[in-house]
Point group: C2
Chain length 337, copies 2
Amino acid sequence: MKKRPTIKDVARKVGVTHSTVSRVINDNPAISGRTKDKILKAMKELSYQPNLVARGLVRRKTHAFALITPDLNPHVLPIIKGISDTCRRLGYGLMLFSTDYWIGENRSYAEVVRNWLVDGVLIYNVIYHEDVPENIRELEEENIPCVFINKFLGKNKVNNVSVDNDEAVFKAVSHLAATGHKRIGMIKGGMLSVDGVERFNAFRKSLEKLEIEFDENITGCGNFFFSEAYEEMKRILCSSPGRPTAMFCANDLMAMGAVKAAEDMGLKVPQDIAVAGFDDLEAARFFKPSITTLKPPLEDIGGKAIEMLLRVIENPSRPVEEIGLGSRLIVRESSVV
Amino acid sequence: MKKRPTIKDVARKVGVTHSTVSRVINDNPAISGRTKDKILKAMKELSYQPNLVARGLVRRKTHAFALITPDLNPHVLPIIKGISDTCRRLGYGLMLFSTDYWIGENRSYAEVVRNWLVDGVLIYNVIYHEDVPENIRELEEENIPCVFINKFLGKNKVNNVSVDNDEAVFKAVSHLAATGHKRIGMIKGGMLSVDGVERFNAFRKSLEKLEIEFDENITGCGNFFFSEAYEEMKRILCSSPGRPTAMFCANDLMAMGAVKAAEDMGLKVPQDIAVAGFDDLEAARFFKPSITTLKPPLEDIGGKAIEMLLRVIENPSRPVEEIGLGSRLIVRESSVV
DNA sequence: GGTTATAATGCACACGTTAACATTAAATCA
DNA sequence: TGATTTAATGTTAACGTGTGCATTATAACC
């Protein structure tokens, strides 16, 4: 790599000290217009650019953030996009650290920040219950600015931005109710995840609000998987005395599994049974029938998370902030004729 | 953020100079075993970690790479995963820069590297023909280590790792031929993209090798879109005298469009017409019928690209290296009963 | 035992920038 | 006019590491 001109090269060319050049770079008002112009001109001629590493050393800020994500699943892509776009807009860099095995990994992610390679951290989708994992406690103990994407099940509050499951689920269930359904069942996701728990609770609250009876018998758990949902749906359709006329599924994969189960049992979707999912996977659009679903504002979440991180950095001692964003209901073939 | 211990803190604790500590950090053999042990012990006790920014300043290496990608589409996710995993394995950091409008953007991406924030760059899916875009020429001119993911259409060779379209397409066409098809058509992708051009050429070469006649009349262009492929497929099925019994599509979206068109015209897939795609989208698995497709080794591509980048850094003047990786054929319902 | 090779460590500067403090020149005031 | 404020720039010391060279202490040699 070619050697780049430094602040001193610029200074020499103009006939001033490097600190004068530094001042114009940082918009210090003490510099006279005349020398400022000369310096700017010289910088352009040499195509000078400040060395961010050197600046990072003295300022103790690198002007970069890190995103730490335990897995790279399709959901995370729009989130990354939101984060990346926002970083670009604000002039920040973005480092990406992914790992498939977050908890229990002996390498600490605070390392990254400790070395001052980043000014703050975004953490996606880390799930824990009672005990805070070592890696995260480290971040807290060292007061590293940090915002979580998605919530915890644990009791302690953290800065986070996530999908408002209550709002979203109510939209979907209302839609099913509005199209005439009185017996609505649900295929739950895994109860170890925040979304699994929240979406189920939201489902029950929605029924209550809409004055529809909740029936345990038409409820199953598919753990967010296509195949498990398929089995559960078959079980529900076979065994229960009063068959459901609509099913809400905690994600699209399970909704597709439920649809397939219904069809394999000779039922027509949506005529005999309506189905709605959550996520708006690409597959949900192309599935036959296409799946009615909730589209979470993932790009927004990424953007808002960065903005929150900036607020945290500016004022580390401010009270914990939690933001939930609304989703869009996309009505497709699986719920209406 | 808490102040971290420095090399000097360690030195003071042991009673040596900071340069001695630096030497043990860098495995300099000049240090005696006794002091080395003492220093290692002190480092552990203080939980010292080298400041990578400071090191980056003096070494002119940050031990981080950048991935620049014009868009964040689903294909790029496994590539990112491959890159990220490999970086982690090698102890490198990864910066992510995405932009939807690469060419014509006035901000230069060489900036990133010039500031020595990264040691090398991976560029995904930048397409150009005759004139090299400014941004890329800049990288070349300044001898910035750089590897491309996916090839160019331009005449000049670059270091790159990509999908071997010849190999993949031949696999798919052979499969169709092996299941008895003699009239095989194709829905092409956009001819402005490398994959579009290469996959079509590979298709023709495959037919030749398999001694099957190529017929322009059962060839269409869907520009990689579902809807355009749908229309083209209808056109082909309506107009041509000798209807094709199998279609190869340059990607899965178009394959799904082609299937839908065939079914809407009363044909059964695969009984009346077989269809194969490319990409192995998640949707291709859940589509009905599920789509026979080629799964490109995207994670591998990411990993190999990083490895190539390391070779480029080690020896910048070595001859240009081009690697093409093979794909896996996944046979599903759309091509066999 | 003195000379020389060798092993182990210290010293001082460099990397490119920022920023506190010092200095000079110019402008304002009494 | 001389004192004093203000504006503009220079000096210098950080930031945390790495490294060439100098300096010891130790071992080897004759």
